[in-house]
Amino acid sequence: MRGPQDYGGMPAGPVDPVKHEHVPTHWEKTVDAMMMLLFDQRRRLARVDESRRMQEALGEDYHKYPYYERWLQAISWLMLEKGVYTQEELEAKKAEVKARLESGNES
């Protein structure tokens, strides 16, 4: 069975190499940087195939996520799976960050 990522050979529209360029945003670079750190030889906390396994587990939602948001979700699931932090810790942290963002203290 084809996973959501398995596009090879499928019909698709034209490639527009002029329109589809994109300078990564700072937020995207931050996600990229975190992934790079977790992949590095010192930490070895993740590998490309593990990240892909998590992204592909999104199923049909794979297509709904912007590229780096998919990466971010994969990182978080991998860290949970590896016990780097727990679901409870993540939920508590998300509530804290959300409150901070909403109060406008983040900038």
Binding site: Q5, D6, Y7, G8, G9, M10, P11, A12, G13, P14, V15, D16, P17, H20, E21, H22, V23, P24, T25, H26, W27, K29, T30, V31, D32, A33, M34, M36, L37, L38, F39, Q41, R43, L45, R47, V48, D49, R52, Q55, P66, Y67, Y68, E69, L72, Q73, I75, S76, M79, V84, Y85, E89, L90, K93, K94, E96, V97, K98, L101, E106, S107
Partner: protein, 222 residues
């Protein structure tokens, strides 16, 4: 302001003008994604897995990887047959001279000739030789390119304005998590005696992905 999120909104540092492209507005992702990113980053810092400084330096590294490095490597291969032989047979060793470490992935260099044109895709995700080319272009990550590059490469090449003669074979390389490809484009005619710095100006990112050829000598007023 804590040290863990002191650069999360420094948009001024993230906008660049590349060759006349407009300055990019730097829109933030969904609130949900912003919350998850800050949460994951802060938890990783609190757990001592990474530091804020590690993140900052890694961003610098992401930004420092550009196709200009790949172009230097290609120019040297055009100019130095011994280096080229090493690059083709043991790219790890050859890339060390440029301070490039491809680990944990492996780089395979594929050479364009009069008989063969090579082109690179990653049908399953967006695997790309980042240490030598930087972040992949958006079209490389999109469904259109990933789907069709392996089925109708000549049609896709035409969409890039690249016409490959019928008698020339087109070879498509599908990258994966462990193996990345770099195309060694053909050295353009009329560049005899050029030094590596001048040769490198002919080597575009797209020519190293194989969706186009290197620039012609006349393109840079050579």
């Amino acid at each position: 302001m804590s040290e863990t999120h002191d650069h999360s909104n420094e948009h001024d540092h993230a906008t660049h003008t590349h060759d006349g492209k407009p300055i990019q507005e730097d829109p933030l992702p969904s609130l949900e994604a912003q919350i998850l990113e800050a949460s994951v980053r802060e938890l990783l810092i609190e757990k001592g897995v990474i530091s804020a400084d590690d993140v900052r330096r890694a961003i610098d590294q992401v930004e420092s990887r550009t196709p200009a490095l790949g172009a230097k490597i290609v120019a040297r291969a055009w100019d130095d047959s011994e280096f080229k032989a090493l690059l083709m047979s043991d790219s790890d060793e050859a890339l060390m001279a440029f301070g490039v470490d491809m680990r944990p992935t492996e780089l395979c260099v594929v050479e364009n000739t009069d008989e063969v044109h090579n082109m690179v895709v990653c049908t399953l995700c967006s695997c790309y030789p980042r240490p030598v080319l930087g972040v992949p272009p958006a079209w490389y990550k999109r469904r259109d390119y990933r789907s069709r590059a392996v089925r109708e490469p000549r049609a896709v090449l035409q969409e890039f304005g690249t016409q490959i003669p019928d008698q020339k074979q087109v070879r498509v390389h599908d990258s994966n998590a462990d193996l990345r490809y770099l195309v060694l484009p053909q050295r353009p005619a009329g560049t005899e005696g050029w030094d590596q710095e001048k040769l490198a100006r002919l080597v575009t990112r797209d020519s190293m992905i194989g969706v186009s050829d290197a620039l012609a000598a006349s393109d840079i007023g050579g």
